[in-house]
């Protein structure tokens, strides 16, 4: 597997900060494009939707790290934290654009969160991501202990599922793209179930 070895070697050399830097570029671009008309005549929704989709995509990418290692031997573990934080950053901006540019009326925002199931679900997903973003640092891992930290970060699974459901629910009709995303998320989580079953049960050894 020369390719796997090559990618693993490449991954070792790419610094993590490069990912953070690359992640900021599309954000700068999307606001610039929205302000100058590149995104069409309704830039607010366009920015909101793109940020939400990017957030979901990056979080899905972070879910790929473990199966890639299990099934393909690719070691991209060092990128999991940057991907999680970048995904959170996009989702946070998505939420802020919705709050400030899109709705902008406090009473309407609150009504939407409690009355609209897809917004409620999106908000719950975001709230689940908060403790993960706050503990995505070495200090928190030391403080919490590896086992507790890992248990907490399992919240990423329900959070991403909620993100996928949020996407399916907000479009009109049965559109193919959001369903593919939700299917992909389900597949990535199902791969983990299989992988866990193959491991010896605790105490069996």
């Amino acid at each position: 597997m020369a390719l796997v070895t090559a990618i693993n070697g490449w991954a070792r050399r790419v610094p993590k900060w490069l990912l953070y830097l690359l992640a900021v570029a599309p954000v700068v671009w999307v606001f610039w494009a929205g302000a100058t008309g590149v995104l069409g005549v309704e830039p607010i929704k366009e920015i909101e939707h793109r940020l939400g989709l990017w957030g979901l995509q990056v979080l899905i990418a972070s879910l790929c790290i473990t199966p890639l290692r299990t099934y393909a031997g690719l070691n991209l573990l060092k990128f999991r934290r940057p991907l999680g934080l970048i995904g959170f950053f996009y989702i946070l901006l998505h939420l802020l654009v919705w709050l400030i540019l899109d709705v902008g009326i406090i009473s309407e925002i609150w009504k939407d969160i409690v009355k609209r199931p897809y917004i409620t679900i999106g908000m719950v997903g975001f709230v689940l991501l908060l403790p993960l973003a706050l503990t995505s640092n070495d200090w928190a891992i030391r403080k919490m202990g590896a086992a507790g930290w890992r248990r907490l970060h399992k919240l990423a699974y329900p959070a991403v599922i909620l993100g996928g459901v949020h996407y399916v629910m907000l479009v009109k009709g049965w559109q193919i793209e959001p369903i593919l995303y939700l299917g992909g998320i389900a597949a990535l989580l199902a791969m983990r179930l299989k992988w866990r079953k193959r491991q010896p049960a605790p105490g069996a050894a």
Binding site: I105, E108, P117, V171
Partner: protein, 302 residues
């Protein structure tokens, strides 16, 4: 018969031709004086707000799922739709059923300018300077039998020219319908153009319905069939999600869509910092159409 409804101004009074094609450049200039000189002061509140959206806005931000679900899909994909020759099959409870060629349909009709608000069910809106004639004139032409109570419409389905119909987002053909009194109302038009130009394909060429007090999806595009019926006809969004989209679908800020509020809307074209504005009952045509629904529970017949 034309002229039963009179808009106080024509699009040409509001926006000179050279400017509607490129309002963005004008806005970028950001000279308040320049804008004021383009839009002469109107006297009444009703006309004040009816400044049409630009040609670019109206023709680049569309819902026409036969060409894809993205807002720019219709603009990118609708060019391949053949609109000449075009005919409409008229059947059901009519005196003179048959296949009416586009020219037969236009014969003897007064093409008027109607500047209408367009309120999408997705909570965005535009102001569109349509050209068209009253649907009543077409109904009179084909002869409505006394037993007819509804009018049903169908959009063209042509998979080789419509990439969106490959996906079952909705059950094709797209179907819409009106109660006969709604169809006969002088506000209800068959539009054949906008801004004095032939209807662009992405806006429903060559002929489409415009019912300004209902959510935009009722105003069915690229019509190939019109059927007079005694029973309420099935309509596409209602068939797809009956709890979200009713047969009537009148614009109503007090009846929310199950998934979002209908109290406010965003007028397209305001840029990055455009604020939402309150949605008006019957999209601002309450005075003209409220009588049609007297005594009806509009939360039940949404």
């Amino acid at each position: 018969m034309a002229g039963r409804y009179k808009s106080d101004l024509k699009w040409s009074d509001v926006t000179p031709r050279a400017d509607y094609l490129n309002r963005r450049t004008l806005m970028a200039g950001a000279a308040a004086g320049a804008i004021a000189s383009v839009a002469p002061r109107q006297t009444s509140a009703q006309t004040e707000e009816l400044v049409p959206n630009t040609w670019e806005e109206i023709t680049s931000y569309n819902n026409f799922y036969e060409f894809g679900t993205g807002k720019d899909d219709p603009k990118n994909n609708a060019g391949q739709m053949t609109t000449d020759p075009w005919s409409i099959v008229v059947d059901g409870l009519v005196e003179r059923p048959g296949t009416y060629d586009f020219a037969d349909i236009l014969a003897g009709k007064d093409i008027e300018e109607r500047i209408y608000r367009l309120r999408c069910v997705e909570a965005w809106s535009m102001v569109v300077p349509w050209n068209g004639f009253e649907l009543k004139d077409l109904l009179d032409q084909v002869g409505v039998q006394p037993s007819a109570k509804y009018v049903a419409f169908e959009t063209l389905v042509r998979p080789e020219e419509m990439p969106g119909v490959r996906f079952p987002v909705l059950e094709w053909p797209y179907r819409e319908g009106l109660r006969l009194d709604e169809a006969m109302h002088p506000l209800t038009i068959m539009a054949t153009g906008l801004y004095g130009e032939p209807m662009p394909n992405q806006n429903g060429a060559p002929i489409r319905l415009v019912v300004p007090w209902k959510y935009g999806f009722k105003s069915i595009k690229s019509i190939v069939r019109m059927t007079l019926t005694e029973e309420e006809p099935p309509t596409s969004w209602n068939m797809s999600q009956p709890n979200e989209y009713g047969f009537y679908s009148n614009v109503n800020p007090t009846v929310d869509h199950p998934r979002w509020s209908q109290a406010t809307e965003r007028r397209i074209g305001g840029g990055l910092f455009s604020r939402r504005i309150p949605t008006l009952m019957f999209n601002g045509y309450e005075e003209e159409v409220a009588d049609l629904y007297a005594g009806m529970d509009l939360t039940k017949f949404f």
